[in-house]
Symmetry: C2
């Protein structure tokens, strides 16, 4: 490993995985941690438990703010494990001089989003640090959810399964980049940040046999697909033109030199289901977002790899994102 | 409330309470949160759940580091509710350029302390932010404990009960201050930072009827006693000369103009038990730290107040700490 930590170590991709496995997993080594995906399963698999710290900059952006993000992020990690979000803790680190009115706005956003999830903040912590020790405000939320649908896992993918995305990809990363750089978009582009539990509940209530489910946060859809391909030792083949991407997001991607599938989302998830379940799942998902789409299938073509098929008939591997992706997008 | 957040809002005393009640409790309002003390009780009171973010500066100090502190802090909050620490999450925010070797040292300290508590890190999060967005490294730990001894609460104090401190007070605050200011102490002063679960377990195993128990972190013993007096609507009378204080801590207090009872501790707790339980409890506590001492009793002299009796026969109120106490001590 590098002698110092770099921005790339927080990218949700290759370097991030290296840091986690070589430092944290190595020392904290235990069975629950090693099996944990979006959340750890505790209490005989009855509860899911997950944590996330939020450092997004700017704090307020089109379609959301750090408060909404902090509740969505943690509740979505629980929902992705098939769990109903129940109890959250909220720990804030505030820079001296921060406006009380902005803090209150953030807390109000949190409460609004908690209500959508039917979850509660039950414990908290507040630290104030001198000017310059933190950039404005960071929030940690840690959540406990009740498993409603057990067995969802990155290890479940099998040949023939369909891969569905819940909406167009990359809106959060593109929105934060534009807001931070002061790019005035003549557009309505806003973050996809949203609570996914209601949509997950609809899938569970309709008895969809969910094999794997993951929100495509840091590292985007590319990171999710690569982790699944690797965990299940399968190939995931994606039809590139099926991936829904908004026009404005495509524009920002060209500017940045990134692919939309590697940009972060905060309310977009990927689902793997058996082929015969796919159209039912898609119908339900389209009710929540009309851009939901079946984008590929699981094959044994190149195990542990993600293959992108273009409409020109060319093929290329989509790798786990690496390098300095946008920092502070969540 | 002030229009901006000040260092005083994070002091563990009066202004901190104002911020918590006027912003966080007001919007997050729910029964579990309002009843929560060092930790919230969830799952029909079977589990305790608590969070803490650590921003201490410097990261390494005599007797500990931020990693040890992050595990002790959260596990102690669980132990103080009579809970056995079980599962923790660990979320770190790292400044770009931080030395990997220092990160590893911190993670090792965490693991060592987890083993003392018999607890595990089961889920985590790693964020890297650009230089200047955070001062080196912050850690959040959030923990779940299993209630071994239910009913411990700040509301349980009754006339005649004895108040015991587990050791001399103020060592952590004094150590951090000295380390930060580069005061070379010709002494062995070090933080009291330690995991309290083993001592709590000894009290529970000996069937001590613990009424209230609280680790005296930010705001020190003064904050704990004031919160108890207020919650139980009693007066707590303390014999000032009984409060154990190390000579070096006294020296630093004179320098700072603070009282040792208002300085932060990270492995020192206050216990309230019935008079007839006091000597048994003290015997057990002295086995863990010879400086444990009965420092006062509960009376009805001035309800909701803490009274300090000096050896000269004078009396004064010990108030909830307020103003700009030392920031970044935890």
């Amino acid at each position: 490993m590098n002698k110092t930590i770099t921005i790339a170590h927080g990218n949700g991709g290759a370097e991030n995985h290296e840091l986690i496995s070589k430092i944290f997993y190595r020392h904290f080594h235990n069975e629950i941690l090693e099996k944990s995906e979006d959340a750890a399963l505790i209490e005989d698999g009855r509860l899911a438990f997950t944590t996330d710290s939020f450092t997004v900059s700017p704090l307020f952006f089109p379609g959301g703010d750090i408060g909404k993000l902090a509740v969505c992020g943690t509740c979505n990690d629980l929902a992705m494990m098939g769990a109903k979000p129940r109890y959250l803790t909220c720990s804030v680190i505030i820079e001296e001089g921060f406006a009380t009115s902005e803090l209150e706005k953030i807390v109000r956003s949190m409460q609004k989003e908690l209500e959508i999830n039917g979850a509660k903040i039950v414990s908290g912590d507040t630290k104030v640090v001198p000017r310059g020790s933190v950039d404005k405000l960071f929030i940690n939320t840690t959540g406990i959810g009740e498993i409603a649908k057990p067995g969802i896992s990155a290890h479940n993918l099998q040949e023939g399964m369909a891969i569905i995305v819940s909406r167009d990809v990359g809106a959060h990363g593109a929105t934060i980049f534009a807001a931070r750089e002061g790019i005035a978009l003549e557009s309505t582009l806003e973050t996809d940040c949203t609570s996914l539990y209601p949509e997950v509940k609809a899938l569970i209530d309709a008895d969809v046999e969910i094999a794997a489910m993951r929100d495509a946060t840091r590292g985007g859809v590319a990171a999710v697909l690569n982790e699944w391909a690797s965990a299940s030792e399968v190939c995931i083949e994606i039809e590139e033109e099926k991936i829904p991407v908004q026009e404005q997001v495509r524009g920002i991607c060209e500017l940045l030199g990134f692919e939309a599938v590697s940009l972060a989302n905060e309310g977009t998830f990927v689902l793997a289901v058996a082929e015969e379940e796919a159209s039912n799942a898609l119908d339900i998902m389209k009710r929540h977002h009309e851009n939901a789409e079946i984008i590929g299938t699981v094959t044994m073509e190149h195990p542990q790899k993600v293959l992108l098929n273009s409409s020109w008939g060319t093929k290329r591997f989509l790798d786990l994102p690496s390098g300095e992706l946008l920092p502070r997008i969540c």
